[in-house]
């Protein structure tokens, strides 16, 4: 749907200027993270210094982060938690999505609705009782507290997305294999699942970024510094009382954002498919 334009002035006013403004506002906070993380403290806390650039870039804040905080440990925790909970969610979502899209059984429709409903339940509604459940299972302050609770919002999402994906794969392909003597499971695993790989990739990338970014459950269930994830660690351990260590804070924010931004930029199209598929169903 290409739209044609009148003169160059009209194009500038209705298109180029708004576009530049939009991109500028979108990216400014990230520029701010970068510039803050490399400015020395002397400049950061000087109201007269021009805050937009620095002539004395320094890596001191990053050094502080790696030498005097548990940042590397938090990074490892975040990676481990995001990977395992994504794996669990993909496994469950793949099987459930296939069952709901392909198999005919009595409870298919109500179960599909039920899973869709749980997809809309926000963590804010459940974190208090869930804290009790986690403690009762003896999972409090271990990575498993969040690895097992993140799937509550990841599985419904994965199921929903993959269910939609399986519906686009023609049933006949599988039926051919069945006629050739393959069992139902054999046909599912070696015919349908490989065809669903793009959908699995989309769901996986989306689930990974969601669990990398999660805040509330991690804040409530993980308390000791060595168990924290990056979002929690940076937020709770780099603020002492009322003192904010802005240099290391922004360095941590930057480093914590880069992995998801990287995963995202490698798979933009898959991510967008997941995002739009998630709402369309």
């Amino acid at each position: 749907m290409a739209v044609r334009y009148g003169g160059p002035l009209k194009r500038a006013v209705t298109f180029q200027i708004p576009l530049v403004l939009m991109v500028g506002v979108t990216l400014f906070p990230f520029y701010w993270m970068v510039i803050t993380s490399i400015r020395p403290d002397l400049e950061l806390y000087n109201v007269r210094a021009n805050p937009f650039f620095t002539l004395h870039p320094t890596l001191a804040h990053f050094q502080y982060l790696f030498d005097l905080t548990m940042f590397p440990r938090w990074a490892w925790n975040t990676l481990f938690i995001a990977t395992v909970s994504t794996g669990i969610s993909l496994f469950c979502g793949l099987l459930a999505g296939y069952a709901l899209a392909r198999l005919q059984f009595r409870w298919a429709a109500p179960l599909g609705t039920l899973i869709f409903v749980t997809y809309l339940v926000p963590p804010t509604l459940l974190f208090i009782p869930l804290g009790d459940v986690v403690k009762a299972f003896g999972l409090g302050d271990t990575p498993w507290a969040v690895i097992l609770t993140y799937p509550t919002f990841l599985i419904p999402f994965c199921t929903w997305l993959l269910m939609g994906y399986f519906k686009t794969i023609p049933r006949e392909i599988e039926e051919c294999a069945r006629i050739d003597g393959a069992s139902r499971i054999r046909a599912m695993v070696s015919i349908s699942f490989p065809l669903a790989v793009p959908g699995i990739l989309s769901a996986g990338i989306f689930a990974f970024t969601l669990s990398w970014n999660e805040f509330l459950y991690a804040l409530v269930f993980l308390s000791s510094p060595q168990q924290k994830t990056i979002p929690i660690g940076v937020f709770t351990e780099l603020v002492r009382g009322d003192v904010f260590y802005w240099g290391p804070l922004m360095a941590g924010a930057l480093l914590g954002s880069i992995p998801v931004a990287l995963v995202y930029s490698l798979f933009v199209e898959h991510y967008v498919t997941a995002l739009t598929g998630a709402v369309k169903g």
Partner: protein, 327 residues
């Protein structure tokens, strides 16, 4: 490569099937048992049960059960370290007489509605801009989504630093341009702080609207626009009469999703203001956290979380009704 990725799934699903079935079947020799399981799994409803079991197990343990537990907590006087007693609707009575709660109630609705309207408007504008052909379109579209994908806590910390009482970059610019002579305390006043919270939420959420609405716009047939143009419709009329009706379904779904997330928001507010100054910017989520986790009043906190539920229910029922109707 695809096969390698699938293989473990086969092994696991097979072992799961094998462990789930024999409980119901009488013990039979190993080889016969394998055949028997194979036959059972040929039946669609048996296979469906096996495939859905892990999902239903996790959702029951960590959603359904906590939900019921939450209702019990909300009608109990449970505090950390002591079993609770049933106290009926006492917690709700206390809430409705608590000025901080009433403020949080109001804030939640103000935050949700103003932010959603702004996100929809700006997201639509962004989607219309991105629907043009121009150089660097791919990279612009990709970078548009950054606020949405990076951890909210981390980007909100950057905003907190930009709103800093002493070193705010906005104050620096405004003072150097000569628009203000005294620093603005962005987060120092309840109303202004709410404005800042909404601004950050809009910054973070607009990309989601822009990208999903863009996907909707790309399904609009350009012929319809040309036909309307030939009939003399200007750009404004074409947007309202042609584009909007066609993308209304996806727009509605995006708005509902975003409303749920905004209504139940916790992290953005907790990081930027922690409900302050003087508890003036709490929403349901942050006030429930404050009472349950910092004051150890689990029952009271759970009763506040539960206030989210009626609103969620309305949105969910509406959404299900809408999906069914459009099917």
């Amino acid at each position: 490569m695809a096969d390698q990725r699938i293989e473990p799934v086969l092994a696991e699903s097979a072992s799961r099937g094998a462990s789930a079935i024999p409980a119901a079947a009488p013990p039979i020799p190993a080889r016969g048992r394998a055949v028997r399981i194979g036959q059972l799994l040929e039946r669609e409803h048996v296979l469906a049960c096996v495939l859905l079991a892990p999902t239903l197990l996790i959702l029951t343990l960590f959603i359904a059960y906590p939900f019921l537990l939450g209702i019990w907590l909300a009608v109990s006087d449970k505090v950390v370290g002591r079993p609770g007693n049933f106290i009926g609707l006492e917690n709700f009575r206390v809430n409705l007489n608590d000025t901080i709660f009433l403020r949080a109630f109001q804030n939640t609705f103000v935050y949700t509605f103003i932010a959603t309207i702004l996100k929809l408007t700006l997201g639509m504008l962004a989607a219309l801009l991105l629907n043009h052909h121009f150089r660097f379109k791919r990279i612009v579209r990709a970078s548009m989504l950054l606020p949405w994908i990076v951890p909210t806590v981390l980007s909100t910390l950057a905003w907190q630093w930009m709103f800093d009482a002493t070193f705010s970059v906005f104050n620096w610019v405004l003072m150097n341009v000569g628009l203000i002579s005294k620093r603005i305390l962005w987060l120092g006043d309840g109303t202004l702080a709410m404005g800042c919270l909404i601004a950050v939420n809009v910054w973070r959420g607009t990309p989601f609207f822009a990208i999903t609405l863009l996907a909707g716009l790309q399904t609009v047939n350009p012929d319809l626009h040309e036909a309307a143009e030939i009939d003399g419709a200007n750009a404004w009329q074409r947007f309202w009469r042609v584009t909007l009706p066609l993308i209304k379904p996806i727009m509605l779904v995006v708005v509902l999703f975003s409303m749920i997330a905004t209504f139940a928001d916790f992290q953005l507010i907790y990081v930027l203001t922690r409900g302050g100054p003087y508890s003036s910017t709490h929403v349901f989520g942050t006030y429930a956290y404050e009472l349950a986790m910092r004051a150890a009043k689990l029952g009271q906190g759970a009763s506040i979380s539960l206030f989210l539920f009626p609103f969620l229910l309305v949105v969910i029922v509406f959404q299900l009704w809408y999906i069914r109707r459009s099917d």
